[in-house]
């Protein structure tokens, strides 16, 4: 009983110091997040929904192609190494897992006037959707997620750009 009481006392101290360290580090870290941010309901529409609905809409390859060819804003949510290996022409790198490193560089280039298309590696990855949700919370409401991602784009023989932008 004495052992357990002392263990509980020590555990509380460890958790308290960890929480203080974690929050302090997070507030200075490049990739820090606001852990108490409000979580807004982000409307996500399925493929085939009419254009114009605010929120996030899932699009197919044909529509992704239309956006790229019309010079629309395209965001690549993958890691830099994947981006450098090949990306959709004109895509801006915005690694979802390293948002702090790209936020200041990418956000000023985005506008709420036009649509913003986001993609990641392939259908199974959801980083494009997660990044689109983050962008929605930042005030961008015309967001399109190309679920097929880079795999479908390059697999269809469409042009690919290599290297850093």
């Amino acid at each position: 009983m004495k052992i357990l009481r002392s263990a509980v006392f020590q555990a509380i101290a460890i958790v308290a110091v960890s929480a203080a360290g974690g929050f302090a580090f997070n507030s200075f870290a490049r990739n820090g997040i606001n852990p108490f941010r409000a979580v807004a309901k982000v409307p996500v529409a399925d493929e085939g929904t009419k254009v114009g609905a605010d929120g996030i809409r899932i699009i197919d390859l044909a529509e992704a192609r239309r956006i790229v060819e019309s010079g629309g804003t395209v965001i690549d949510a993958r890691r830099k190494i994947e981006y450098d290996g090949g990306h959709i022409p004109g895509a801006i790198l915005f690694d979802y897992y390293d948002m702090g490193a790209y936020r200041d560089r990418v956000l000023p280039r985005l506008s709420n006037e036009g649509e913003i298309m986001v993609y990641c590696s392939e259908t199974a990855c959801d980083d494009s959707e997660l990044l689109a949700k983050e962008l929605y919370l930042l005030g961008f409401t015309k967001l399109l997620v190309f679920k097929g991602g880079f795999a479908e784009w390059s697999g269809s023989g469409l042009p690919v750009e290599k290297g850093d932008l």
Partner: protein
């Protein structure tokens, strides 16, 4: 009179008469160093990438987006790191063991739940393979379950050990 070991003069391996081998000071030290290495490594993989870790926690389907998830993503890796340091330095070993016991029990439960989900979808148990978000990449679920069970036993031994020989004793001041 010359006494023989059978008469009880020689201390058993545990260092105290009647103690289990698992409480041998060197065994306990090995458990501490092993757990410390694992948890410090795991913590370092997660610190500084709270968004990614939040997604990994969310994949278990237990906590959804919101402050509890993000607070866990920010604080949990630091708890693992401090527990690791406690085990290495010997300061607050029992506290660290209690936390790791709780974390591993929780982890074992959520991994079992996630594995059961894959099995019910038709994947054979031995073929269930996923990234548990522990900082070590994708792994077979059965291996992860065994690993966690071993960590659980080690943490339990560290918590229940009658004494720790290579540790800093922390005693509360008696009034």
């Amino acid at each position: 009179m010359k006494m023989t070991w059978s008469q009880g003069t020689h201390p058993p391996a545990g260092g105290r008469s009647g103690t289990h081998w698992i409480f041998n000071p060197y065994v306990l030290l090995a458990f501490r160093l092993l757990l410390a290495a694992i948890f410090i490594y795991a913590a370092v993989q997660k610190i500084g990438r709270p968004n990614a870790f939040a997604e990994e926690i969310r994949n278990y389907g237990v906590v959804d987006y919101g402050p509890p998830l993000y607070v866990m993503a920010v604080v949990l890796p630091w708890i693992e790191l401090l527990c690791g340091f406690s085990l290495v330095t010997g300061v607050g070993v029992r506290g660290a063991a209690l936390i790791l016991l709780g974390l591993n029990a929780l982890f074992l439960a959520v991994i079992a739940k996630r594995t059961a989900g894959y099995v019910s979808d038709g994947t054979p148990f031995m073929k269930v393979y996923f990234d548990c978000g522990c900082g070590f990449g994708a792994i077979y679920a059965w291996k992860k379950l065994l690993e966690d069970a071993a960590y659980l036993i080690m943490a339990l031994a560290l918590l229940a050990a009658p004494r720790h020989r290579f540790a800093v004793p922390i005693r509360r001041r008696s009034s």
